[in-house]
């Protein structure tokens, strides 16, 4: 059981979140009253890991609708760090948003954030909550404005840049989204997932923009290649590479014999596509859909299979 508790929870991984939240009672101790438990555990488990685990459990419980356990986690965190701790304030806001019944309740949360921010303008967790709340209230332009304000003050926050890119993309502002993701990459240059994400964004933009399409498609191939270079069994990277190279080939963006050595020839792109498809096939074979370890990426595997089927007849 201990091994399962250590399983990392990331935002999109619903399955492991569910698994973690099912163990809420075991992690939080038998009695759900924090006061009786705190005395026994204070000396032995007052470590940073323990509290970051409680924070993860809190998020997992909120995701799976176990509000009562989430409340217990939150109480324990605010007992330890005090209710005025910025991170605890952010988590409390998250809890209130998650348990809000209707639109007016969410509006009330927003008003609360505004008051907090007027007292302490640089409360980063609350600023981020405010952006997320504005977004879920269907006010994306306000969310973008708030996020830009945040990034103006803290331009070294990769998470915020990524969110801004996502917001821009949802508004159809491709160039701005690309700029934001590039900023995120400047902060974390070795993250293959952001490289692949940027590649996806460039790929999408190259289908819509007119004059610049060839350059964007070429850059998208480059970023997928870099992503694969950094992590050589990243499914999204290969998937994107296969798609991007097929666009370059279909639209005849790659010259047969390039004048500039930096521009890849048509032959290279064809080789890249063959390589990507071959690796995708390999990944699909090695990660069976029923395998528990890859359960969280099941949808990605299915999508990859579908892509391979699409390419199969043309081969």
């Amino acid at each position: 059981m201990g091994g399962l508790v250590d399983a990392e929870v990331n935002g999109s991984d619903v399955l492991s979140a569910l698994r973690l939240s099912q163990q809420a009672a075991a992690i939080l101790g038998h009695g759900l009253a924090p006061n009786t438990h705190a005395t026994s555990s204070k000396s032995s488990r007052d470590t940073a890991e323990e509290y970051s685990r409680i924070e993860q459990l809190f998020l997992a419980c909120l995701q799976t609708g176990d509000d009562q356990s989430a409340q217990t986690c939150l109480d324990r965190l605010s007992n330890r760090f005090g209710p005025s701790n910025e991170r605890v304030m952010g988590l409390r806001g998250l809890f209130q948003e998650a348990t809000a019944k209707d639109q007016p309740a969410l509006e009330k949360c927003l008003a609360e954030y505004e008051t907090i921010l007027s007292e302490s303008p640089v409360n980063v967790p609350i600023m981020k909550r405010r952006v997320a709340l504005l977004r879920s209230l269907q006010r994306p332009s306000d969310a973008i404005a708030a996020l830009i304000q945040l990034l103006d003050a803290i331009p070294t926050d990769a998470e915020a840049w990524g969110e801004l890119a996502d917001l821009y993309q949802s508004q159809g502002l491709g160039a701005q989204a690309i700029f934001s993701l590039e900023e995120a990459l400047l902060i974390a240059p070795n993250s293959w997932n952001i490289h692949a994400r940027l590649g996806e964004l460039l790929h999408v933009c190259s289908s819509s923009s007119e004059g610049d399409a060839a350059r964007l498609a070429g850059k998208s191939v480059q970023h997928f290649c870099r992503s694969i270079e950094l992590c050589d069994d990243y499914l999204r990277g290969f998937y994107g590479l296969a798609l991007a190279t097929s666009r370059v080939l279909d639209q005849k963006y790659a010259p047969e014999s390039p004048s500039d050595p930096a521009i890849p020839s048509r032959k290279t792109i064809q080789q890249l596509q063959a390589f990507a498809l071959q690796r995708l096939e390999h990944i699909i074979q090695s990660r069976s859909v029923d395998d528990q370890h890859w359960a969280s990426s099941r949808s990605e595997l299915i999508a990859a299979k579908e892509l391979l089927n699409r390419f199969a007849p043309s081969k």
Partner: protein, 265 residues
């Protein structure tokens, strides 16, 4: 010629009443110092306004661009970012209050934020100085001049000043250790003992403190009190200006094929 072994008759009580107490006292003060430092340590104050936060992070942004641009950006977007940052640094757009630009930096004694940082440093130094002074004078007052220990191995004459401080005997063999020297040996040599008792990042460790002071870039706030952010920005702008652009994404296609799929080519 046979070396004549010096023998000194030592009272065995010397061991129990000097050697042992000094070691124990040194360990205990180390532990006490650790907890006192933890208690008195004030965390660096976070920025209170958005403009102040921007001033702190702008420099990091320039450094990030300088270090990581080659992994991400093509020439066009690199030039755009470079021009933006250089302009911002030059015109003082990232400063907390651009109007105060060019004026001599405020006296850190009158600036409350600077005062606080200085207090923090002062407190840290006091935690080092006071116990050392006290123990040293304690040892000088009670145990000066005792020879308390004989090392089981021979040493060269150069170690005499290290091992026999407080004992002014020229002919005494270097193997003998005086009480004051035992104190110094403890002071320098107990780091690993503290590491064992308190964990590796303890504040009894003087070395760690000196490192922290020598390396301000590791801290959250790159600006030291009394330092003029404008000057830092200008030098960063210069660094950015002279930067040569290259991009590792150029030719990444061939590189990937070569490294990962030699059979396809």
């Amino acid at each position: 010629m046979a070396v004549v072994e010096q023998t000194i008759l030592r009272d065995p009580a010397l061991f129990y009443w000097i050697l042992f107490p000094i070691s124990v006292v040194m360990i205990l003060t180390g532990i006490l110092r650790h907890y006192a430092t933890v208690l008195m340590n004030t965390p660096p104050k976070p920025a209170s306004t958005l403009a102040e936060s921007r001033e702190r992070h702008a420099l990091l942004r320039g450094v990030n661009l300088r270090n990581h641009a080659c992994a991400v950006l093509d020439r066009e977007s690199f030039e755009a970012r470079k021009n933006y940052l250089v302009n911002g640094f030059r015109s003082g757009a990232f400063l907390k209050d651009p109007n105060n630009r060019g004026q001599p930096p405020a006296n850190p004694m009158t600036d409350p934020a600077g005062m606080e940082a200085m207090m923090g440093m002062l407190k840290g130094n006091m935690m080092m100085m006071i116990p050392q002074t006290l123990i040293m004078s304690w040892i000088n007052a009670f145990f000066s001049g005792f020879v308390i220990l004989k090392l089981p191995f021979p040493l060269t004459i150069r170690f005499k000043s290290m091992l026999q401080s407080g004992v002014m005997t020229r002919d005494l063999d270097v193997q003998w250790v005086s009480s004051l020297s035992w104190y110094f040996l403890n002071l320098m040599g107990l780091q690993s003992v503290f590491g064992f008792i308190l964990g590796s990042d303890n504040s009894a460790n003087q070395m760690a403190q000196q490192m922290a002071q020598a390396n301000p870039a590791a801290m959250m706030n790159p600006m030291q009190p009394g330092q003029d952010p404008d000057k830092l920005f200008l030098s960063e702008a210069e660094n950015l200006e002279v930067m040569e652009h290259f991009c590792i994404l150029d030719g990444v296609e061939e590189r990937v094929l070569r490294n990962f799929a030699p059979e396809v080519i």
